[in-house]
């Protein structure tokens, strides 16, 4: 029973981490209608920024982490300036294709700047787990989970209730309609990428705290994909719930099914849940249902 509780709680917290990474996908989608395939590379880039500021440049954490966020935002804005500002008015298809180019490009850039070596990531959350009776909870995941919930609810409020957020929602609905309403699609996309890069850096901090980092950490982006699809790309608060579902199921499957089968069922199971749910609800749990008019 204690084991079960342990798996359950840890699964839920890992799920919230996935939710945070998935939020990066959703935020960029919600403000620009672009699905960013290079999300995992943004996480790696953010992680390396933090590593560089704290380990390489030797800055104290209170200075280094904010500076890393600033660098990530600048990076996101640069991506918008170089690539997407030229694509306003082009089809969404080619914008998504650009993110495929970005995936290759950012991976190369990270390799050029930081090399393929495995680097120790600074310990941002104390390594000692919190012990409640027999239950062990890693601090990084617990604090990370709380940050994720707060960010998720905050962003959800921002996109659904504030004027700026609703403007971006209009961009996600249709670029042309948004333009004709006098909304700056360019600014919305810039904001999306800055926010996406920020969330990725936050995800990198929680994910990597006390672990090691190299360019292969981008796989977390792929692991978070079922969460984003399950929730529906348009829903930010939904990502939290989808993250919990995926995390708990994955945790339990890894704990109970993997030893029996002798394989990594836990890592493919989220994709199976995702496929199953998409068959029942093609737009995810909370995605917008679009009505097609001729």
């Amino acid at each position: 029973m204690i084991d079960f509780l342990n798996y359950l709680i840890n699964g839920a917290l890992v799920g919230l981490l996935y939710a945070l990474i998935a939020m990066g996908f959703v935020v960029i989608y919600r403000a620009s209608k672009v699905f960013n395939i290079a999300q995992g590379e943004l996480v790696v880039f953010g992680g390396f920024m933090v590593w560089w500021m704290i380990v390489q440049a030797g800055l104290p954490m209170a200075v280094g982490i904010p500076l890393a966020f600033v660098a990530a935002i600048a990076f996101g804005l640069a991506i918008e300036k170089i690539f997407f500002s030229r694509l306003v008015g082009e089809s969404v298809f080619s914008m998504v294709m650009v993110t495929i180019g970005l995936l290759i490009l950012i991976r190369g850039l990270v390799l050029v700047l930081f090399g393929p070596a495995v680097r120790p990531f600074p310990i941002i959350f104390p390594l000692k787990p919190i012990i409640l009776g027999d239950i062990l909870i890693p601090r990084s995941l617990l604090f990370g989970g709380l940050i994720t919930i707060a960010t998720g609810l905050g962003l959800s409020w921002f996109f659904n209730a504030t004027r700026t957020g609703l403007r971006m929602t209009a961009v996600a609905e249709d670029h042309q309609v948004a333009l004709s309403l006098g909304i700056s699609v360019k600014r919305s996309i810039a904001f999306a990428w800055a926010l996406g890069a920020t969330l990725s850096t936050l995800g990198a901090i929680i994910f990597l705290s006390g672990k090691s980092l190299n360019f292969l950490a981008s796989d977390i982006g792929l692991a978070a994909l079922p969460v984003a699809l399950l929730a529906g790309f348009e829903s930010i608060a939904g990502v939290l719930l989808a993250g919990l579902i995926v995390g708990i199921v994955q945790g339990l499957v890894t704990a109970y099914v993997d030893p029996a089968v002798g394989g990594a069922v836990g890592s493919v199971f989220p994709f199976l849940i995702m496929l199953a749910i998409l068959f029942i609800r093609p737009t995810g749990m909370f995605g917008w249902k679009t009505i097609e008019r001729v």
Binding site: I104, L111, F233
Partner: protein, 348 residues
């Protein structure tokens, strides 16, 4: 567009693939060059050419799926892997000859692809594209864990044999791949010009309008996945006989992304474009790999990995630049040049 003075007087002439004598001559010369290539180029270039041929089959399949039918497919390498494993398994387990395993490898991949195509019944747009990433994960999991495929050791293959002749030498493998590639490419031209190709284009341009015209949209999308995956499977089977070793690491998401890069650079919606894209991307990759060591000698401060990394930066930039400045690829640029040459001195 045809040059002035060329017009068809019968339906078969109108739908012909080769329309003018100049085109026929170009085709024959090109094929003759391909046949003569092994006697001209060195062993390294020959191996690169064989890889190009194999990639061409896979990229042409992706072109049908993504370029013609407009369904983004991020799992083409997984489909290729299914073909490679199926061919390898049939050959080692049942001792089937290669002329059976290559088509059957294609069929196995087609079935796998069709399952993802079928999800088009319910899932639309980017959701559909992203479920193909699940193909990549599922492929990796199943072929690593199912008992018949050698797990992490991969599959070893005997060379393909025909009437006692074993395809071991680089030259014979090149010809094997060339023959298959030529057949598959002509098949692709046929599909693109025929009823199915037109249905693909209609669905790509507007699936609501296509449905109104009486095209079964879901079936068309599923067929596109079926055909694209079949091509990937055939390419995978060729790869299995070329390397004679199959492992899951040869077919990752990153490989799928390279295939998409190839059709972007070559030109979406053109079989010839896919071939050009394969050539350009592979040639650039190999140039970087070849020039890398001398580059490192020139600037000893740089490490060996840096060249590979720089290649990624460069190629990623090239893909983005193509989408920004020439979204329809090199093929479109070529068509513009051809047209302006024919129209000269008039602008249009």
């Amino acid at each position: 567009m045809d040059p002035a003075g060329v017009y068809a007087t019968s339906y078969s002439a109108d739908s012909a693939l080769v329309r003018t004598r100049a085109q026929a001559i170009c085709l024959v010369v090109f094929l003759a060059l391909l046949v003569a290539a092994p006697f001209v180029v060195g062993p390294r270039l020959l191996a690169i050419s064989t890889v190009m041929l194999i990639s061409s089959v896979v990229a042409v399949g992706l072109q049908i799926n993504t370029g013609y039918a407009g369904q983004i497919n991020l799992g083409q390498a997984a489909f290729m892997g299914v073909g490679a494993y199926a061919a390898g398994w049939l050959a080692t387990r049942f001792g089937m000859p290669f002329w059976l395993t290559i088509p059957l490898g294609g069929c196995a991949a087609a079935v796998f692809g069709f399952i993802f195509g079928l999800s088009a019944v319910r899932i639309k747009g980017f959701y559909l594209a992203l479920t193909t990433i699940a193909a990549q994960t599922l492929f990796h999991f199943f072929f690593l864990n199912l008992p018949w495929f050698g797990g992490s050791n991969g599959l070893q293959l005997e060379p393909a044999t025909l009437f006692g002749f074993a395809f071991v030498s680089d030259r014979s493998l090149y010809y094997l791949c060339l023959v298959v590639t030529v057949i598959m490419t002509f098949g692709a031209y046929g599909i693109a010009r025929g009823r199915h190709g037109r249905a693909f284009v209609a669905v790509r341009d507007d699936d609501v309008a296509a449905g109104m015209m009486g095209i079964d949209v879901v079936r068309t999308k599923a067929t596109a996945f079926l055909v694209g995956a079949f091509y990937a499977g055939v390419g995978g089977a060729l790869w299995a006989y070329f390397v004679r070793f199959v492992a899951v690491d040869q077919f990752t998401l990153f490989h799928s992304i390279w295939f998409i890069a190839m059709i972007i650079v070559g030109g979406m919606g053109s079989v010839t474009g896919a071939l050009i894209g394969v050539f350009v991307i592979k040639a650039m990759q190999e140039t970087f790999v070849t020039l890398g060591p001398s580059f490192v000698e020139l600037f000893p401060g740089l490490g060996g990995e840096l060249v590979f990394a720089l290649m990624n930066v460069f190629l990623g930039g090239v893909i983005a630049a193509f989408l920004i400045f020439e979204p329809r690829g090199l093929m479109h640029r070529w068509n513009i040049i051809k047209r302006s040459y024919r129209m000269w001195p008039f602008p249009y």
